[in-house]
C-alpha cells in the first residue's frame, strides 16, 4: 500500500487530453458513443468480488485511466478520480453509451458475464492497444488473486510498479519532438473541408441505445490461405471485402447508377508499429481509402487499388505529415485561445457536415493478441467490439487469438447488410465461419 500511495503522490493530479482525444468530448453523444470493448474469456466463472479487489489493486498503476473528464475554460481535461472503479454485470448491448455520472465518474467500465471479463473504454481515454494492456494487467492480477499465477509474467505491465511519464504523455507531441528536423522538410497536407461525400448505408435503425453484435469466427489458416491467393494481408482482404459489401449495398439501395457515390472505409493505423513509444493513451491515426464503384469490375480490382493505397499512404512520411497537421492545429495559439464551448460547437458542426461524410464504414484490426504462455493457458478467448455510430451504422473490429480470428460487427441498422455479404463471400472463398450474436 505504501508503494501505491507514493505512486499516487508522484503523478500529476490532472492530464491534458492527447491530440487525437481532443475532439471526442465534443462529438460524443447518445448517437455516437465513441466506445469500444475488449474482453477475455477465462476457463471458470468470474468471481465478482475478487475481480473488484484486483481492480482496486491495479488502480494506482493506471492513474491516467482512473480519471474524471472535466471541462476547463479552453479545453477539457482529465482529473484523477479517488473513487473505487465498479465491476458491473453484463448488458445486452455491448458498447452502449457510457455515463460517467453513474459509474463513479470513470470513463471505462468493467463488466463480467459468466467466464468473461470485458473492459469498455471511451475513446477519449485510450485506443485499442492501450486498453488491451490494461485488460491484460487486470486479468493477470485476477489470476494471481485466484491462485492460478504466482507473479506477473514477462511482457505484462506489473500492477505494483510506477507508471512511466512516457505512458501518459501525448505521444503525438513526443513524435513531433523526435522528428523535429525531419518535419521541416514535410509539406502541409490537411484541408478541413474535403472532397465530395461518400455513400452512407440507409435503412431503418434500431431504437436509440440498442446495438447488434455479429461475431464471425474463422480459423486463422483459412483466412491466411485466402489472403495468400490474392497476395494480400488479412487486413487488406477484410477491408476489400467490406468495400465490396458496401458497393453491393449501394447497388441495392440506389437504383440510379448515375447517382452512385464512392465508398470510403476508415482504417486505424497503430502508430506504435512505427515509433518505439510506450504510449498508453491514444496513439493511432486513420487512413480512408476510397473506391469508386464505377471503376470497379471485380473483387481483384478492389484489392489491387486498396493495396496500392495502403502502400502509398501508410508510410512513415505520410503518417508524420498527418501527425504534424493534427498537432499544429491543436497547438495553434488562435485555436487554443477560443473558449471550449465555442470549440465544441465548431468541432460538432465540422464533424456533422464534413467529417462524417468522408467514410461509409470503419474496420479496425488489432492483430494477433499475444499473451505470455503462463497466462494463455488460463485464457480461452480474446475479443474486441467497436461501437457504431449514427454516421457509420456498421463498424467492424478484428482480432486474432490462438488459431482463430474473430470478426466482430457492431451495427445499429436493423438488417445485417454488410455482415451478410462479407461472411457469405468468405464462405464462398472456402473459409469455415461460425456466427454468434447478442
Amino acid at each position: 500500500m505504501k508503494t501505491n500511495k507514493q505512486t499516487e503522490e508522484n503523478i500529476t493530479s490532472w492530464f491534458r487530453l492527447d491530440t487525437s482525444a481532443k475532439i471526442y468530448p465534443a462529438i460524443e453523444s447518445p448517437e455516437e458513443p465513441t466506445t469500444f470493448r475488449l474482453s477475455m474469456t477465462l476457463q471458470e466463472d468470474i468471481d465478482a468480488d475478487l475481480l473488484q479487489h484486483a481492480l482496486n489493486i491495479i488502480k494506482p498503476r493506471f492513474p491516467y485511466f482512473n480519471v474524471y473528464l472535466r471541462i476547463g475554460i479552453f479545453w477539457h481535461y482529465l482529473e484523477q478520480n479517488p473513487n473505487p472503479p465498479i465491476v458491473w454485470g453484463e448488458t445486452p448491448f455491448p458498447c452502449e453509451r457510457l455515463y460517467p455520472v453513474y459509474n463513479n465518474g470513470f470513463l471505462y467500465n468493467i463488466r463480467i458475464y459468466k467466464k468473461r471479463i470485458a473492459a469498455e473504454f471511451l475513446h477519449v481515454l485510450t485506443d485499442g492497444s492501450g486498453g488491451f494492456e490494461f485488460l491484460k494487467t487486470l486479468v493477470c492480477q485476477y489470476l494471481i488473486l485466484k491462485g492460478k499465477l504466482n507473479d506477473f509474467p514477462e511482457g505484462i505491465m506489473r500492477g505494483d510498479e510506477k507508471p512511466l511519464p512516457e505512458e501518459y504523455e501525448d505521444a503525438f507531441l513526443n513524435v513531433m519532438k523526435l522528428e523535429k528536423e525531419h518535419l521541416k522538410t514535410l509539406p502541409k497536407q490537411r484541408t478541413l473541408f474535403t472532397k465530395d461525400s461518400v455513400f452512407k448505408i440507409r435503412g431503418p435503425i434500431l431504437p436509440l441505445g440498442h446495438l447488434r453484435i455479429t461475431r464471425g469466427t474463422i480459423p486463422f489458416g483459412d483466412l491466411k490461405s485466402i489472403a495468400k491467393t490474392y497476395n494480400a494481408t488479412v487486413t487488406e482482404l477484410l477491408s476489400a471485402l467490406y468495400i465490396e459489401a458496401l458497393i453491393h449495398v449501394q447497388h441495392d439501395q440506389v437504383k440510379n447508377k448515375a447517382r452512385h457515390k464512392p465508398v470510403g472505409l476508415t482504417i486505424p493505423v497503430n502508430m506504435r508499429n512505427f515509433y518505439p513509444i510506450r504510449a498508453m493513451r491514444n496513439f493511432s491515426l486513420f487512413v480512408v481509402p476510397r473506391t469508386d464503384p464505377k471503376k470497379v469490375n471485380s473483387f481483384e480490382d478492389i484489392i489491387l487499388s486498396l493495396k496500392d493505397y495502403m502502400k502509398g499512404h501508410i508510410t512513415r512520411d505520410n503518417l508524420l505529415m498527418m501527425v504534424k497537421d493534427n498537432c499544429t492545429l491543436g497547438e495553434s495559439t488562435l485555436i487554443r485561445s477560443v473558449p471550449v464551448f465555442i470549440k465544441n460547437l465548431v468541432i460538432r458542426y465540422i464533424s456533422n457536415t464534413q467529417g462524417h461524410s468522408q467514410f461509409s464504414g470503419v474496420i479496425t484490426n488489432l492483430g494477433a493478441a499475444r499473451l505470455p504462455a503462463e497466462m494463455e493457458q488460463h485464457v480461452d478467448d480474446v475479443n474486441i467490439v467497436l461501437g457504431p455510430s449514427i454516421h457509420s451504422l456498421t463498424a467492424c473490429a478484428v482480432i486474432g487469438y490462438k488459431d482463430r480470428i474473430h470478426i466482430n460487427f457492431g451495427r445499429i441498422n436493423k438488417e445485417p447488410l454488410i455482415e451478410k455479404h462479407l461472411f457469405r463471400r468468405l464462405v464462398e472463398m472456402g473459409a469455415h465461419v461460425s456466427i454468434k450474436t447478442n
Binding site: 454485470g89 453484463e90 431504437p207 460547437l345 456466427i435 450474436t437
Partner: protein, 293 residues
C-alpha cells in the same frame, strides 16, 4: 450446431434463425439452452419502432384533446356571456396555431427539420394574417410580419437546396429571383417609407440573425428534439426583446421593455423545461437499461 442453408455459416446453439438472412434453423428437436448465450436477453417489448410510434400517437392525441377542450370552453363561455363569438376567436385561433406547431408533428411518421420549419413558417404567416384580420378587420401590420417570415424561409430554403444542388449558378439564380420578387412585393405593400431604416430593416435583421443562429446551433446539436425546442424558445425570447426595443425606440425615441417581458416569462420557462425533460429522458433510458431482465 447448425448451418444456415443459404449463408453456409455455422450457427451458435441458441440461434433459432440465421442472424444474417433470418432463415429458420430446420431442426424441430433442437433444444435451446439459454445458458449458452453470449449476452443477456433484453426485454423485446421495450424495443421496436411500433412502440415509439404508439407513444408519439398517444402524445399527439393527449395534446389534441387538451387543446380542443380549451377551445370548446372558451367558445362556450364567450357565447353564454355575450351571445356571440367575439373575443374568444383570438385565443381559439392561437390555440389552433399552437396545436399545428406542437401537436401535429407527433402524428407525422417522418419529421425532418426542413419540413417542420416549412410548416411552422407558413403556419405562423397565416396565423398572423388571420389574427390581424380578427382584431382589426384588415391585414395592415400582419402583411409585413408574414412577408418577413416568408423572406427568412426563402433564405433558409436556399441553404437547404444548396446542400443538395451544390451548383453555384442555379443557387445564385434562385436568390436573385427570390430577392426581386420579394422586393417587388414589399414595395407594393409599403405605404410609410420613413419607417424602413428605423423599424422594418432592424426587425428583419434581428429575425435573420436569430434564425441563422438557431440554424447553426441546431445543426451543431442535432438529433435531439429537446435541444431543438430549447434553442428555438430561447432565441424566440431574445428576438422578442430585440423587436420590443426596436419598436419602443421607433415610437418613443427611448429603449424600454414592455410586452416582451410577458413573452420572456412564457418562453424561458418553456426553454428550461425542454432542457430538463432532456435530462429526465436520459435518466429513463439509463434505468431501462440497468434494470433489464
Amino acid at each position: 450446431m447448425s448451418y444456415c442453408v443459404h449463408c453456409g455459416v455455422k450457427l451458435a446453439e441458441y440461434h433459432e434463425a440465421c442472424p444474417l438472412c433470418h432463415t429458420k434453423v430446420m431442426d424441430p428437436n433442437a433444444k435451446i439452452d439459454p445458458q449458452t448465450r453470449d449476452y443477456p436477453v433484453y426485454r423485446e417489448y421495450l424495443s421496436g419502432r411500433s412502440t415509439n410510434h404508439m407513444r408519439r400517437l398517444l402524445a399527439g392525441t393527449i395534446l389534441t384533446s387538451v387543446f380542443s377542450m380549451y377551445c370548446i370552453i372558451l367558445l362556450l363561455v364567450n357565447f353564454i356571456v355575450n351571445r356571440q363569438f367575439s373575443w374568444s376567436l383570438i385565443p381559439v385561433w392561437s390555440l389552433m396555431y399552437l396545436w399545428f406547431t406542437v401537436a401535429y408533428p407527433f402524428f407525422r411518421i417522418k419529421n425532418t427539420f426542413f419540413r417542420l420549419y416549412t410548416y411552422d413558417s407558413f403556419a405562423t404567416a397565416v396565423y398572423l394574417l388571420v389574427l390581424n384580420l380578427i382584431i382589426s378587420g384588415d391585414v395592415h401590420w400582419a402583411k409585413f410580419a408574414a412577408s418577413g417570415i416568408i423572406f427568412i424561409w426563402i433564405i433558409m430554403n436556399g441553404i437547404f437546396i444548396s446542400e443538395r444542388v451544390k451548383k453555384w449558378i442555379p443557387m445564385i439564380a434562385y436568390y436573385i429571383i427570390a430577392s426581386v420578387l420579394f422586393t417587388a412585393l414589399f414595395a407594393f405593400m409599403l405605404i410609410d417609407t420613413a419607417s424602413i431604416p428605423t423599424l422594418i430593416l432592424p426587425i428583419y435583421l434581428a429575425v435573420l440573425f436569430f434564425a441563422l443562429l438557431s440554424f447553426f446551433m441546431i445543426k451543431a446539436l442535432v438529433f435531439d428534439l429537446y435541444n431543438f425546442l430549447a434553442i428555438i424558445f430561447f432565441h424566440a425570447s431574445l428576438l422578442s426583446v430585440a423587436i420590443d426595443l426596436i419598436v419602443s425606440n421607433f415610437l418613443t425615441q427611448s429603449y424600454s421593455l414592455g410586452w416582451s417581458l410577458v413573452v420572456i416569462s412564457a418562453l424561458l420557462p418553456l426553454s428550461l423545461t425542454a432542457l430538463m425533460l432532456r435530462n429526465i429522458k436520459k435518466l429513463r433510458t439509463y434505468v431501462a437499461k440497468k434494470f433489464h431482465r
